[in-house]
Amino acid sequence: MMIFFWAFVVGGAICVIGQLLLDVLKLNPGQTLTILVVSGAILDGFGLYEPLIDFAGAGATVPITSFGNSLVHGAMAEAETHGLVGVVTGMFEVTSAGISAAIIFGVIGALIFKPKG
């Protein structure tokens, strides 16, 4: 059950990197998250993100960096079968859950909740 421990540590460490981007470079949250997503994509380009997922489980899949990683994965999987066209078409194959869940629960949230202020 080491996975729980490492999920905590690795996930926490990625958040610390985000906090440093926020506080040291004084970026706003949008810029910070964008940098993290792009780094996730680049890391996967070097084949470095998958080992981290194997090692830390949700510690690597829950932070937003994994979004970049899985976009690359979707694109690469499709590219294997369809070549360069697959790079464009396969993009959302793996990541759709995050985006569609956000949209669905966003609309449901707007239907049932009012901002508390």
């Binding site: 080491m2 470079l25 780094s39 470095l48 998958e50 981290l52 194997d54 194959e93 793996v94």
Partner: protein, 155 residues
């Protein structure tokens, strides 16, 4: 500002590169690793489980492996392993290397090697059932086939 941004990103990159990617498996030791969680299946099934037992025997010489489950039909063999947690960074390489080794060992069977927790659990269930009862040949084949498909699912 711009420079600092890139410094931070590259620092992040290097920390990850630092976590070693080259050597995947230690060479097998002479002795069987006694800590491994494995059980030999009786061979009086409709399909002999001798290949599965042989696979377990070979794999049990690797120190990094902690659990081995395997079931075979007369066409294919599904092996599922778990490794020590600190080795999981190299999981993909280990899986690749062991798959290759197993393929060479069982050249008459279709070999599938998985490191997935769920497949370990499913094979464990199957192994236990095999101990209790004799499966008809077709049933076992079908069951195994389903598991192999399941282990390959991506999303």
């Amino acid at each position: 500002m711009q420079l600092g941004k890139w410094l931070l990103i590259s620092a992040f990159l290097f920390t990850l590169i630092g976590c070693g990617t080259d050597s995947a498996l230690d060479p097998p030791s002479k002795q069987r690793n006694e800590d491994i969680d494995l059980s030999e299946i009786s061979t009086d099934q409709s399909i002999s489980q001798e290949p599965s037992n042989r696979a377990k025997d070979i794999l049990s010489h690797y120190d990094q492996i902690t659990t081995i489950k395997a079931v075979n039909s007369d066409k294919e063999i599904l092996i599922a392993i778990e490794i020590k947690h600190m080795e999981r960074f190299k999981l993909a390489k280990i899986r690749e290397q062991l798959t290759k080794e197993m393929k060479e060992e069982f050249d008459n069977l279709k070999v599938e090697l998985s490191t997935d927790k769920k497949i370990v659990m499913e094979l464990d269930k199957l192994e236990k059932n095999l101990k209790k009862q004799v499966y008809p040949k077709k049933d076992l084949q079908k069951k195994l086939n389903k598991l192999v498909e399941f282990s390959k699912e991506q999303t």
